[in-house]
Point group: D2
Chain length 365, copies 4
């Protein structure tokens, strides 16, 4: 590692920095012969260098005496994709994310009536979804908006999961939600607003379950990956990242779907990355093209809000699409996967618990 | 209230909307004679109109059948300043926010060593601060950064509070922090990352304490006020809002201090609004001019990060300023308050528990 | 059209507004029986209503007395896609944009040496490009950066155009550039920085040539379309819009490619829309996936920076790609077009003037 | 200067870089003994080092072979404030910007009727303005909005300038505007949309007049300063920078007034910096507090849109304020200047050509 020191550093401050380096198992060596009074320090690992390199980098980066880190050495965070490292593959029920596998997640924004949820679950499964989404605790901007059914919603999710034979992902808003949620769900979601809720990240990391981590509305890709690092360093191995649009300045779309960051993440990390076109667009009519673009850019899955009667959805009605439109999106995803030589995962026929469910499309599975 | 309906509405959907209106105590009346197929509905309050008008507005706004709310009627949220309504005044220890009173909050980003905290508390009080800030749970971007002392930090804050005679504000990160924090602190802070952490807002609202609510990094002013509404509707009456910079695109400053929104908030709400120039600038050398601008625009207080040895601060060292520079900022604030006919609150001499503390400046108090 | 008036309007101001409406051929009729003091005015076209409806809307929108336009009536700008209106198709040389046709534009950021330009032109044509891009006047952030070859570059573009048999698009920076540029080019480009340079838009509109209009770095989609309206209302009929990334907050990518806006534009306007993944990414390694996503979302073409020796490009070297990588992008575009049932336009074999050029790929043409 | 080279550089590319360095009068010397394969190159000025250091830095920064510039050496652009360098002072008529002098610029957004302009000019001068603003060429978002009076407006500005005895600043949109504008005006304005219109910057630089350069809507401070560098390197010595709000995400204010950047600019450059609260707020009711904050942060002047009948202004009516409110803003500015030990420049009584003008306030002058 190579540091540039702040100019006009007091000797005591330089000594303090060098002491910290030695504690971290790194011997500082000042480079000589640099013109213009620039002070560069090369850090050479010693026998004692047992400390986590990511922790070392973070600690040195926080030192005021360090003007900049000229060279950080090899990547060291758990999220980082080493040269040639393959994708981490995350499996949730029948869904597979990463390693050339693309899976579809679908369901209503919020869980409300049982027959509606049952209907949508059957129909999105029939169309190709392998994971059902549905919120029971909704973090709404206004205290007067519908806040979700809470525990009743969880029970309902559990019943539909059994009846339809589909794995379920739902959001947890606080550590207290985790225990009861894991009884009926297969994956925990951390929503956009909670991406950097560190107490929640730490508790979710211990749950022993796959986690869907949504990007914060103005998180940089580095901040997003460091939020995943809270999960990975806390013991969770199955993290799926989700890009859902960043805050923009144009009200024509709700958010700005940032597919450049998806392309960047696919290089920077070995974790799977999925795309949420529903929250990005905020408009039902833009979801299909954005879903197609998400698969084309190389994401490992889609998560889409589907409601049998979009107009009556109790939250985010503007962006809910019908099961029929979802089936078209699934068809597009299949076409895109074939074009890219990737596999779109389809639910197996015998996972369908009820006769009403239509036969799955002829997917590569 | 006046609604514009979505075009080509099915009769069943119109009926459902009208039913909801009547449930809410509002009789819908379609305006006749509008050209171009535009459907406008005037809502007339009936005897049953007992429901919270803010809740009504929010519910109707969420209906897909409603294209837009043409006129919302009189302001109805608890945060809203009615015509001519005076400021809410919030008192915390000797600090007074609102109603022409300006108070200074200062202290280290994070609490670490006891003698350092004691020193900074005495010196910021001597310079004019009436409220000590200091983080014990730090929500850091990287899991490898210093995360605060936790409960040890709380105990330390409690001892310094007694010894120096100054009220204390500190951040709570999760509902579980509230009980122990209220034992030693005078005000709870909800940080920027948690502005819309609804479970936390709901629990903090019940704590019976004044709350300092920081604006989220990309919250609109409406979203910020609705986060305050969670507190107000949950029973908290003493909310102080804090603008701390929004995310920008220029790395020359850490964030963009949005004083236009401070000016807007002073009109839109009766709640006090303070300014945090430290997190906005992220650079010690810009804090003094931004603090001056904050008071000039009409804010009700400042919150500033102060550390006796800024280079050794364990977090946010780049933006920590020395107690001497804080004294200059306090002097500026006094000058600004005098120019604006406002009162800068000074700590009373007898609140100082120890002889080492310098005499307070000759403030209006 | 339906207006909501500002509250507490003076009678003289209402009269002035109504007078203006009548001048515009619209009879104002105040709706009666609206509760809460809300004043709504319906505007009924009279016989005199000959004025441009877009101009009318714009004028009324600028009136202070108008609080909001509740309903604007049918779309009226030239850019707007009426219900069911087909795409405008723009042809430049062999390139066809719109109506299900996708064309590829490629070439160096800036024109420098003749043999380099000749080489890149032959190779991008061989790979499937039907239009050569290359800047001769470069609007650079720093006055000390390479500013382009100017008139020498134009002559060079002209020679390469003849020799390779490929149409050429280049940017004009000021009205004075237009005359000489049209002598050697087939399409004029208005760059991102000049999207709302109204004197330039007005003059370019009169040139009788197809125009490539790039979106400004923080233009809303409405502002972008209104810039196109300057061209359309000034007499230009062949406008191709180009999304090239908006300013974001994350330095991992140069800009944020806004494909949600591309999807929105494809609905809002009949004009073709192309995507520039090079300026969006600013990194050679992200251009291929973003190009794929652009075609998948439904754009009508791609514009890509290609240089035979990217490291030696005199501007934007970081985002230049090799002709070989461009050929892979062209292959992806063909795959995507086939999947979507669209036609990727290929250069005809006999348009190639020189024997060195490789045979074009077996495109749909 | 110290460079870090890109990894795995081909010898030919290193040689090419080193050759360029030597052409620029800099001898490259590779630092030895750096661990981890990092290649650092120190550049030592030789006798030949006569080249502009800013140009050198810009050229090296554009080289692909250069991974980063570890240390740029001393500041070298013309805009940069060297250690201890005093403010550049710009005088326009009676206005003085910089060096502790604050001046007020006021007038209508666009020039329309002569008696209106005469009235507003007299009244803003009476209230303390030393420079009259007024647009004759308006760069409007829509081609259907009022675009200004053009040459008639210039003549009108000239007559009012003589009659009232006040210097005038107006915007030029294209090089062709410069000659006729300088006949009747004292300062040329480059608007926000044209901040990086390089052909315009180059021509304006040659006009031999003071220039008011407005920040682009999403220009970083560095981009803003480099736009000023086009003027300075082109021969203009009197550049006044103007912060007018950057694009934000909250429609409560039109733009986000970025006073942190004003504080940064006052350190980074010796050029005067003024603040435009009118375009930032976009709402008449927020202009006064923002103007106060602008002076408090340390700006060298204010530019405010004033119209005798705001409701009838032909452009930007929402943000126009009355002459009476402007007089209050001028009073605030005086109070702020006194508090900060700065001088608010007042028009001299004998500069007033007509008896109708009120006596100027008792300013420090």
């Amino acid at each position: 590692m190579l540091l540039k020191l702040r100019k006009n550093l007091a000797p005591a401050d330089r000594d303090a920095l060098f002491g910290l380096c030695r504690e971290l198992g790194l011997e500082p060596r000042t480079l000589t012969g640099v013109s213009g009074g620039v002070e560069l320090v090369d850090l050479i690992p010693t026998d004692k260098a047992g400390v986590d390199p990511a922790r070392t980098l973070s600690l040195l980066n926080d030192q005021f005496a360090v003007a900049s880190i000229v060279d950080a050495g090899p990547a060291s965070e758990r999220f980082a994709r080493a040269n040639g490292q393959p994708d981490t593959i995350v499996r949730v029920g029948e869904a597979i994310f990463g390693g050339g596998h693309v899976s579809l997640v679908a369901g209503p924004c919020s869980v409300d009536e049982e027959d509606v949820l049952l209907d949508v679950a059957r129909r999105v499964k029939a169309a190709g979804a392998t994971l059902l989404r549905g919120g029971v605790h909704k973090p709404r901007t206004s205290p007067y908006s519908f806040q979700g059914l809470g525990d009743d919603g969880l029970a309902l999710l559990g019943r539909v999961r059994e009846e339809v034979g589909i794995a379920v992902v739902t959001e947890v808003l606080e550590p207290g939600d985790i225990a009861k949620t894991r009884e009926v769900c297969d994956m925990l979601q951390i929503g956009s607003r909670n991406m950097i809720n560190t107490p929640l990240l730490r508790e979710v990391a211990k749950a022993g379950m796959p986690v869907l981590l949504k990007r914060g509305m103005t998180a940089t890709s580095k901040e997003f990956l460091l939020a995943a690092e809270y999960l990975l360093s806390g013991g969770c191995k199955e993290v799926v990242l989700c890009e859902r649009g960043i805050r923009g300045f144009d009200s024509a779309t709700r958010n700005v779907l940032d597919l450049g960051t998806v392309a960047h993440l696919k290089q920077a990390t070995h974790l799977p990355v999925i795309v949420d076109p529903s929250h990005a667009a905020g408009r039902a009519d833009l979801i299909r093209p954005l879903a197609r673009a998400g698969v084309a850019v190389g994401c490992d899955g889609l998560i889409v809000e589907v409601h049998p009667y979009p107009m009556r959805a109790k939250s985010d009605a503007e962006q809910a699409i019908s099961p029929d439109l979802f089936a078209e999106i699934a068809g597009d995803a299949l076409t895109m996967c074939r074009a890219l030589g990737k596999t779109l995962i389809a639910p197996s026929a015998d996972s369908v618990a009820t006769p009403e469910a239509a036969a799955p499309l002829n997917y590569i599975s």
